[in-house]
């Protein structure tokens, strides 16, 4: 069956009865119009033509990842909110320069990482001037997670313990040097593949692995210092 989208032109808004686009009638795996990559490609193309709704779909698809990346790297929810907005605005402004040579996800991660690095430097300067350090435990000792969980009176002990461990882990991640923190967040929290990390950071996989190992080792020692593990 001929696809009606081709007949009517890509720019036209047309409603299709579902029988025109049944999955089993799709012309093969590579051109599968239902594949998420295909949707993403279409969103990007439409957004590049200036369609704000397609751009919004891109935002929705990636905002969780970018927000959590920023939160884990900066350790502050409000900063992460602001940075997420900044990242997507930047992506919006420069979307026309995205040519599809790399994966879109790689590109957006690179943009986000650059923003995080700049913001971290700025925050470090600011905290340094106010005699605090980003390397210190964050904001009142428990960082932003504590503000997330205000009332713990009715929380079961096990859940409380889990939260406590999560806070300490987040605190320890904050105390890593920036390149270690980045690789830990990308691999062990965001669960990107080595290849994806290699593309995002522009480093060979061997370098990624050795840096990740050193970062994990240092984090392990920090967690031991914080009393999560016995020191070795």
């Amino acid at each position: 069956m001929k696809n009606r989208r081709e007949e009517s032109g890509a720019d036209l808004e047309t409603l299709f009865p579902i029988h025109c686009l049944k999955k089993e009638e799709a012309p093969g795996q590579e051109d599968d119009p239902w594949a998420p990559e295909e949707w993403e490609r279409r969103w990007i193309q439409n957004a590049q033509k200036g369609d704000p709704e397609s751009f919004e779909r891109i935002v929705i698809a990636y905002q969780q990842k970018i927000f959590n990346l920023a939160f884990r790297l900066l350790g502050d929810k409000e900063e992460a909110e602001d940075l997420t907005q900044e990242v997507f605005l930047n992506v919006y402004k420069h979307l026309s320069s995205f040519r599809g040579d790399a994966q879109f996800s790689t590109w957006i991660y690179q943009v986000a990482l650059n923003h995080c690095r700049n913001r971290f430097k700025y925050l470090k300067r600011r905290f340094y001037q106010s005699t605090e350090s980003l390397d210190d435990p964050l904001q009142g000792g428990e960082g932003d997670l504590e503000r997330e969980l205000p009332d713990e009176a009715d929380v079961p002990e096990e859940a409380l313990h889990r939260r406590q461990v999560q806070r300490l882990v987040q605190r320890a991640v904050q105390r890593l040097r920036p390149d270690y923190r980045e690789i830990i967040v990308l691999r062990d929290i965001q669960e990107l593949s080595y290849q994806e990390i290699s593309e995002v950071l522009g480093l060979p996989e061997g370098t990624i692995k050795s840096r990740l190992h050193r970062a994990r080792w240092e984090l392990k020692e920090l967690l031991a210092e914080l009393g999560i593990f016995r020191s070795g």
Partner: protein
Amino acid sequence: MEPKAGKTVCQEVRERFLELLDGNLAGEDRQMLEAHLSGCPGCAHHWESYRATVKALGSLEQLEVPECVLEGIRTRMQRASALRRILGWLRIHPWRIPVPAMAALGVLLFMGGLGQWKPWESKQQGGSQIASLQEPGITIQPHQLQQTASPYAMENLLSPVRALDPDLDWPLRGKVMVQDEMVLDLTGSEEVFQRIEAILRESRGRMFLMGIRHKDSGQVVRSRILLEIPMEGYAGVIQQIESIAPVQRIFLERDALPPRPDRLRITVVATDLGLSQEALSPLKSVRAD
């Protein structure tokens, strides 16, 4: 296991924790490493802590993105677009702006006024785009629907009639067609709309109504309704809507886009204007004013 020059066996073993955890060690290498770990309490302890560290990182909760983030992105995008348009125009016609106007523009930009500029709202307030939805025997006035506006929804709704698929069973008399998901049969009942409106209000959903007029006759030829339902509790809302308006057919959006993960947007097209296909055909080049 033979250590490399200058390294102890323990150092050698500990450097291979990453490979061991990734499951990339096989055969003899793996056996030797495991044998060492079972006989060396120091390395075994480090191995357990290493594994526990990675596990703890993997169990960190993903934070939900606050709604204000998306709102902030929309606002900043609008501001950027407006600014870009003005700067683009200024690049082409710099001599057309008198100095006082330039100063006023500067002040406006400085105060972030462009971010508040919402042309779709002024259109809506003008009233020319909002039409009554007429069905035989009933008239649903716009004020009966909760009218709010989002820029993208409004843009979408204002799309020209030419976009209609000529092969589609059009006009869909008395039907409400739900984009992406389903068509509900709401034939001739004002009460149905009121009940849907009530359901939406309760579920913090939103409803938009937009009419498009025939350029010659001025008659409303098409009304589009857009329902926006929060994903949280979506199934229940749909169930409620279905209980008053049974699902009839399933339709898809032009690009077969998946539903938004946070809010499922449903576009509803309702029409009942008694115009034939022939009468509609000139409308294919008409844009809503």
